[in-house]
């Protein structure tokens, strides 16, 4: 009988890399990826690297000032409609 709770192998875990990091896996699959990462240094390193990449992209959100001119343009258009 297949063990549906066992850790995935490297190939399977890597295929689910982004789904795992984006929180899109169901509980059982997420648990099996997590167990694999506890056991595999290489895959754990890959996942940490990609997580740091996503964290880095999120820093762009802090730069709201960059949208100031766009906001002004949109506001101008909205006022023109009213």
């Amino acid at each position: 009988m297949n063990d549906t709770t066992a850790a995935y192998d490297c190939g399977h875990a890597v295929h689910l890399l982004w789904d795992y990091l984006d929180g899109r896996l169901p509980d059982d699959a997420r648990g099996r990826v997590a167990r694999h990462l506890e056991e595999c240094v290489d895959c754990d390193g890959h996942f940490k690297f990609e997580r740091s990449f996503l964290d880095a992209i999120r820093t762009l959100r802090r730069d709201d000032a960059a949208f100031a001119s766009l906001r002004g343009r949109v506001l101008g258009a909205l006022r023109g409609e009213s």
Binding site: V14, H15, W18, V41, F49, F53, A56, L60
Partner: protein, 228 residues
């Protein structure tokens, strides 16, 4: 195109309607007649060279463009009874041509979604191995990361850039991004994964250009070992 013209049906269910251009069409209710064919040859076929040039600009492939032109005229003829004499036939044909092209492209993107997503996960891991081997395992914390990512984002095609902005920067769920962009969730997923890989490749190149990869061993943060 004027309001009173109708677009011909494609592969939509019988009796349904769509309005890609904000115009509803009526399903044909009668077969074309010989007289209709004569009128079609006289009024529509002279536009074929124009439609063919337009199709070539869309597909960028001569064979695909020819197929597209043929399909355009076939569908136009099937719906010829809905065409209003005296209105702009060439514009009507261009609209049909563009709609067929866009729908075919959408079908293709849906078909390759799953394979693309898996391939992109593997590609991301390969890219990490390259970075690690170059001593750049920690490049996302060593770079002045926001300006570097902005620069890298600017190099991506618009369709990739917008999905990164919505999902990774603004925190949209895939489903929310799909709704905002008017594309299937699978398309958001595949575009996002591809965009992330392209972004990382640009950032790796940027880090190497800045000389980070040439740092001496003591400047590189050692890779953390787990379970050993």
């Amino acid at each position: 195109m004027t309001r009173h013209q109708s677009l011909p049906p494609d592969d939509s269910p019988r009796g349904s309607s769509f309005d890609d251009s904000g115009i509803a069409y009526a399903m044909p209710t009668q077969p074309p007649t010989d007289a209709a064919l004569s009128r079609f040859e006289r009024e529509a076929l002279p536009s074929l060279p124009d439609v063919a040039r337009f199709a070539r600009s869309l597909t960028r492939d001569a064979a695909d463009a020819d197929d597209l032109v043929q399909e355009t005229f076939l569908r136009a003829f099937r719906a010829w009874h809905t065409f209003i004499p005296g209105s702009d036939c060439r514009r009507w044909l261009f609209t049909i041509c563009r709609n067929i092209f866009l729908r075919a492209r959408e079908r293709e993107s849906r078909m390759v979604n799953v394979d693309d997503a898996e391939a992109e996960s593997l590609a991301a891991v390969r890219l990490h191995i390259q970075a690690r081997d170059a001593g750049l395992n920690d490049m996302f914390t060593r770079l002045d990361v926001a300006p570097a990512i902005e620069r890298a984002l600017a190099t991506l095609p618009e369709s990739f850039r917008e999905v990164v902005r919505l999902v990774d920067v603004e925190g949209f769920a895939y489903e929310e991004a799909a709704e905002a962009l008017g594309v299937p969730v699978g398309t958001v997923r595949s575009r996002l994964y591809r965009a992330r890989r392209l972004l990382q490749a640009e950032l790796l190149k940027y880090a190497v250009d800045l000389g980070f990869a040439a740092s001496s061993d003591r400047d590189v943060v050692p890779q953390k070992e787990h379970g050993k």
